[in-house]
């Protein structure tokens, strides 16, 4: 049944939503509008002349191979972050769900990284993996592996994937654990009596029942990889070597503030905005339908 509140005076509802509205306007619509406007302008690096160019900035981007390369890096990066992060957290959540003794301590340890700032995380991993100082790099060399994230693009990508995933594991873990714990134990028992071994029970019962959680996390993780990883890239690799770790958000910053191509940078952020809106719509559509089984 729908519950409706009836207000005595017509203006009260507007007053009540006004603060929220003001925040949304000041911190979202206004800058977003600015970005859209900027994306239609061309400006010389000294800010002396401004010219309306229509969609030329977008046309340039589509033709720019660096931009397309950045798109590709972002796609690979976000799929790796989502894939690795979710697999690891699901595995940890399955263990935590089974654990009887020490479960509390185990959960606390996994949740901790979430409280660490992204820059700190990046610097932490940077130190651990620093080719000359890092402990992990030292071990890797001892094992005969070559490791140089400052020169090797694959190593650089691996480094930011690890740094970005590490933090996200805590978040995913919490959701997966809650999802696992909401599956009635008797379902698993029924499957065991039906003859399914642990692996089969997981893939035919548990995993399908987790799919709403998995989908939600997939979107959240992709958004995270697209947008929240700026600090990590900035601190760890600065987009290098070459362009190997230059993800889209980082390129927005670099083109805008380093190369001072404000129009191009604004056009890029408009595209990013479109992507996040699309992802959010997909997410909401899906959540509205609730569960698919």
């Amino acid at each position: 049944m729908e519950k409706r509140v009836v207000f005595r005076s017509w203006w009260l509802p507007y007053v009540l939503v006004a603060p929220q509205l003001a925040i949304t306007i000041v911190f979202f619509f206004w800058p977003a509008g600015q970005a859209v406007w900027q994306s239609l302008l061309a400006q010389d690096p000294f800010g002396i002349s401004v010219e309306f160019v229509g969609l030329e900035n977008f046309a340039n981007l589509v033709a720019d191979e660096h931009y397309l390369a950045s798109f590709q890096v972002t796609a690979v990066f976000s799929l790796l972050v989502a894939g690795v992060g979710m697999s690891v957290s699901l595995l940890l959540a399955v263990f935590a769900d089974r654990a009887i003794r020490g479960a509390g301590l185990y959960k606390t340890l996994i949740i901790w990284p979430y409280a660490v700032a992204p820059v700190v995380a990046a610097i932490l991993w940077l130190f651990l993996f620093n080719p000359t100082l890092g402990v992990v790099a030292h071990w890797m060399r001892a094992l005969g592996m070559t490791w140089d994230p400052l020169l090797d693009s694959g190593d650089a990508l691996a480094l930011i994937v690890i740094a970005a995933t590490w933090k996200q594991v805590s978040y995913n873990f919490l959701f997966f654990l809650a999802g696992l714990q909401s599956i009635p134990k008797s379902l698993i028992e029924a499957a065991a009596i039906d003859g399914a071994g642990p692996g089969r029970r997981f893939w035919t019962i548990v995993f399908p029942l987790l799919s709403p959680t998995t989908f939600f996390l997939l979107v959240v993780n992709i958004i995270h990889a697209f947008f929240d990883t700026f600090a990590i890239v900035d601190a760890a690799t600065g987009g290098g070597p070459g362009q190997a770790t230059e993800i889209l958000v980082y390129k927005v910053y670099k083109d805008g503030f380093k190369a001072l191509d404000l129009g191009g940078s604004a056009a890029q952020s408009v595209i990013l905005m479109a992507i996040v809106i699309a992802l959010t719509v997909v997410q909401f559509r899906y959540i509205e339908r609730k569960v698919q089984y």
Binding site: P184, E189, A192, I193, D194, A196, T204, L209
Partner: protein, 354 residues
């Protein structure tokens, strides 16, 4: 089909022992009901048969095999859970076929078995639905269908009807009976509802606090309860208990006045006993013939029967009368009973005195 044997079965959770040595044997094709109050260990006992709980001590055998070390899937049992435990993401058909697929049965065989079970349980039109699109009673039937397609040696039921409303419960009870006649598979059925126990059981195991207090047919348990607990648990309204002391051969003096004649053996004069008489065995009589007299406290008209609640000092008693003669609260009623229907129990241990 197979027999099931419990040999001194015990279960502990850490230091806490919850099953204290159950011995019972279930014949091939028998329908056994495990009944007892909440928390007495019925589910635990059943789950040990299923292999969902480890057996701490003792042995459980299905057929001629001791199953203590076997996985649930190797015990050839099927279980119906209280919450049905249907797989929510699978159709009714797939729910029933799941166990057969895992056992590597061919598609045509699976189809035949599922269709047959669906026929028996009238699930035919529902096979494509998901569990959430079914009513409680239909879900219940799917859960039973999933058990019967497997054609196991033993069916295990853990309170399968307790989530249904009263009317549906009666109907499903009848269907379970019919099903059992049709299939003849050994069944262990857990319930806390004594009506279910009385109507379904060939024999029942009455449990109390982790012990099997009595194993017997419903009428044996009703007519010849082994302990005060069993006497009070089976029968509705439950048996009246009045405190008293032995007063010579065949006589007990009640603590709050009156002499009860009984057909049991010698009770030492002065020994503390509890007299048990079922409400349906107490009859109104004239003052000279009365075993005791008591004040009417409350009269409940149930239509066919009338329950007259009596107060006898600190004891209370209920008389069940077949037809209602209007009775006033506050009046005195004189009652007696057939001495053969009077049970005596030890006041301390609750053991039957015969």
């Amino acid at each position: 089909m197979a027999k099931v044997e419990f040999r001194n079965v015990r279960k502990s959770y850490g230091a806490l022992q919850v099953i204290h040595g159950v011995d019972a044997s279930v014949a091939d094709g028998e329908f056994i009901v495990i009944v007892g109050p909440s928390g007495c260990g019925k589910s635990t006992l059943l789950r040990m048969v299923a292999g969902l709980e480890a057996i701490t001590e003792g042995e459980i055998a299905i057929g001629d095999r001791v199953v203590n070390a076997l996985e649930p899937k190797d015990r050839d049992i099927a279980m119906v859970f209280q919450n049905y435990a249907l797989y929510p993401h699978m159709s009714v058909y797939d729910n029933m076929a799941y166990g057969l697929k895992i056992r590597g049965m061919s598609k045509t065989d699976i189809d035949e078995r599922v269709k047959r079970a669906a026929g028996i349980l009238e699930l035919g039109p529902l096979l494509d639905r998901r569990p959430r699109q079914l009513s409680g009673g239909q879900r219940q039937r799917v859960a039973m269908g999933r058990a019967i397609v497997r054609e196991p040696k033993v069916f295990l039921f853990d309170e399968p009807l307790s989530n249904l409303d009263a009317k549906l419960r009666v109907q499903m009870r009848f269907e379970i009976q019919k099903l059992h006649r049709q299939l003849g598979t050994t069944a262990l059925y857990v319930t806390h509802d004594q009506v279910e126990a009385m109507t379904l059981a060939h024999r029942m195991i009455v449990m109390n606090a982790g012990r099997a207090e009595q194993v017997g047919t419903p009428m044996e348990v009703y007519d010849d309860p082994a302990t005060r607990f069993v006497a009070g648990f089976i029968g509705s309204p439950s048996m009246n208990f009045l405190s008293g002391k032995g007063a010579g051969t065949g006589r007990v003096a009640l603590a709050h006045g009156g002499i009860v004649r009984h057909a049991n053996g010698q009770v030492d004069t002065g020994r503390d006993v509890v007299v048990g008489i079922r409400p349906e065995h107490l009859v109104e009589c004239g003052a000279p013939d009365a075993m005791f007299s008591a004040v009417v406290e409350l009269v409940e008209q149930l239509g066919a029967d009338t329950l007259v609640h009596l107060r006898h000092g600190e004891d209370a008693a209920v008389v069940r009368q077949p037809h209602s003669r209007q009775r006033e609260a506050g009046t005195t009623m004189h009652v007696t009973a057939d001495p053969a229907r009077v049970y005596l129990f030890d006041a301390g241990s609750g053991a039957r005195i015969r």
